[in-house]
Amino acid sequence: MDPAQAAVPPMLIDYVPVLILLGLIVGFAVFNMLLSDVMGGKRRSIAKGSAYECGMEPQGSARIRLSIHYYLVAVLFILFDVESIFLIPWAATAKAFQAQQLGSIVFAEIALFALILGVGLAFVWRKGGLDWDR
C-alpha cells in the first residue's frame, strides 16, 4: 500500500496486528473462565469457602499491615524506572549521534544524569534502605 494514500499513518498500521492478537488472547482467557464456570461443579460448603490455612480454622483477617520494606522497594523502583525511561531514547540514538560526531557531548549529558541517580543509589545504600533484614 502506498503510504501517502493510507487512511492511517503507516506507523500506526503496525499496531493493528497487536489489536488482533489482543482480541484473540482476551477471547481465549474469557472463554476459558466462562467455560469452567459453566461446566465445573457447584457444591459449596462453609469449609470449602473459607481461606486455606493448612486445614486449620482461618485465624483473623488477611487484610494485615505490610512490612515497610515493600513500599521502600516500590518507591526506589519508580525512581530507577523513570531513570531507565529517560535512558531509552538515548540508548536508541547513541549510535546515530556518534555518526554525526555528537557522541561525546550527548554521552556527557546522559552520564551526568545517570551520575546524579547513582549518587542517589549510593545514598540509599548508605542509609541502609537496601538492607532487607534490618
Binding site: I20, L21, S36, M39, A51, S61, L87, A91, L121, L130
Partner: protein
C-alpha cells in the same frame, strides 16, 4: 482481492499461528517440566496419556474445565475472578513483537502482486519498549489475585512476587538498553539484523549483560531458584493458593508464556535471534528452526536449574538484585554507552 484485504488476511494468519504456537509451546513446557524433572530424579514421569504421556497437557486442560471454579467467601469477588486474566493477557501479549524468522515471500495471486511479510506478529519500531511496558503489567494480576483472595498465603506470595519482579525489572531494562545502544535500534528485528554472523552475536560483545539478563530472567518469571512467590514449604502455592479450575490454569499458562517469551527475548537479544551460525541467507524455515532451537535451549535451562540449585532466601534475592545486579548493569551500560558514543570498537 485488494492489497488491504490481503494484509488483513496475513495479519490474522500470523496472529493465529503465533498465538497457537505460544500456547502449544507453553502446554509442552508443562509436560516437559514434569518429564525432565522425572528424568533428573530417575523416574518415568507422566506416561499414561498417549505415547510417552504426550497428550498429558490436553488431559490436564479437560480436567481444569470440569473442576469447580471456587471463589472463597471472604474474597473480593470481581478482583478475584478477573485477576488471572489480568496476569495472563499481558504475558501473552508480549509475544507480538518477537521476530521468529526473516521476511517470507507471499505468493503472487488473486491479482495482488507478490510481496514480503516479516515473520512476527508485528514489527514495532519501539518493540523492546512495548515488550517491557506490556510485560510489566502482569504484576497487577499477581498482586491483585494475591490480595483479593483474602488469604494470608496469597497475600504474602503476591507481595513477594511483585517486589521481586519490580526489582529485577530494573536489571532487565538496563541490560537490554546496553544491547540497544550497541545495535542502535529499539526494534527487535533491528537488534537481530545488527548481529548478522556468529562472531557478531551480542553474547560476545555483551558478556556481562548476557549473564545478568539470564539470571534476571529467572527472577522476573518467578522461576526456581527465585520462586519465592510460591515457594512450597513456606507459602503453600503463593498468590494462587485459593485459585482452582481454569482460573488457576490461566495463572500457570501466563507464567509459562512469560517464560517462553523471555527465552525468545534472550535468543533475540544475545544469540542472533533467527540467524543461523555460519550460513548467511539461509532459507526462512531453517531460520525459524534455528530460532526454535536456541529458544528451547533456554527453556531447558529453566528446568535444569530448577533441579540443580537450592532456593535462595528472600533477603538474599533482594540484596542480589539491588546491591549487585543493579550497579553492575549500570556500570555495564555506562561502559557500553561510552564505547558507542566515542566510536571505540570493543571487539
Amino acid at each position: 482481492m485488494n492489497p488491504l484485504l490481503r494484509d488483513i488476511l496475513v495479519w490474522l494468519v500470523k496472529a493465529g499461528v503465533v498465538y497457537g504456537g505460544l500456547l502449544g509451546v507453553a502446554a509442552g513446557m508443562t509436560l516437559a517440566e514434569r518429564k525432565v524433572s522425572a528424568w533428573m530424579q530417575y523416574r518415568h514421569g507422566p506416561n499414561r496419556v498417549g505415547p510417552w504421556g504426550l497428550l498429558q497437557p490436553i488431559a490436564d486442560g479437560v480436567k481444569f474445565i470440569f473442576k469447580e471454579s471456587l471463589t472463597p467467601d471472604g474474597a473480593n469477588r470481581w478482583l478475584f475472578r478477573f485477576a488471572p486474566a489480568i496476569a495472563a493477557v499481558p504475558a501473552m501479549m508480549t509475544v507480538a513483537v518477537i521476530p521468529f524468522g526473516p521476511a517470507v515471500p507471499l505468493p503472487d495471486s488473486w491479482g495482488v502482486p507478490a510481496a514480503f511479510t516479516n515473520l512476527s506478529v508485528t514489527d514495532l519500531d519501539i518493540g523492546l519498549m512495548y515488550l517491557l511496558a506490556i510485560g510489566g503489567l502482569s504484576i497487577y494480576g499477581v498482586i491483585l489475585g494475591g490480595w483479593a483472595s483474602n488469604s494470608k498465603f496469597s497475600l504474602l506470595g503476591g507481595l513477594r512476587a511483585s517486589a521481586q519482579m519490580i526489582s529485577y525489572e530494573l536489571t532487565l531494562i538496563l541490560t537490554i538498553l546496553a544491547v540497544v545502544a550497541l545495535s542502535g535500534s529499539l526494534s527487535l528485528r533491528g537488534v537481530v539484523e545488527a548481529q548478522p554472523d556468529f562472531w557478531e552475536w551480542n553474547v560476545f560483545h555483551q558478556p556481562l549483560a548476557f549473564v545478568l539478563f539470564s539470571i534476571a530472567a529467572f527472577a522476573e518469571t518467578n522461576r526456581h531458584p527465585f520462586d519465592f512467590a510460591e515457594c512450597e514449604p513456606e507459602l503453600v502455592s503463593g498468590f494462587h493458593t485459593e485459585y482452582s479450575s481454569m482460573r488457576f490454569a490461566l495463572f500457570a499458562l501466563g507464567e509459562y508464556c512469560a517464560m517462553v517469551v523471555m527465552a525468545s527475548l534472550w535468543t533475540t537479544l544475545f544469540l542472533g535471534g533467527y540467524k543461523v551460525p555460519f550460513w548467511e541467507n539461509a532459507p526462512w524455515f531453517v531460520c525459524v528452526a534455528a530460532f526454535c532451537a536456541k529458544t528451547s535451549l533456554f527453556l531447558f535451562l529453566y528446568l535444569w536449574v530448577r533441579w540443580t540449585l537450592p532456593r535462595f532466601r528472600f533477603d538474599q534475592l533482594m540484596h542480589l538484585g539491588w546491591k549487585v545486579f543493579l550497579p553492575l548493569a549500570l556500570v555495564n551500560l555506562f561502559l557500553t554507552g561510552a564505547a558507542v558514543s566515542y566510536g571505540v570498537d570493543l571487539w
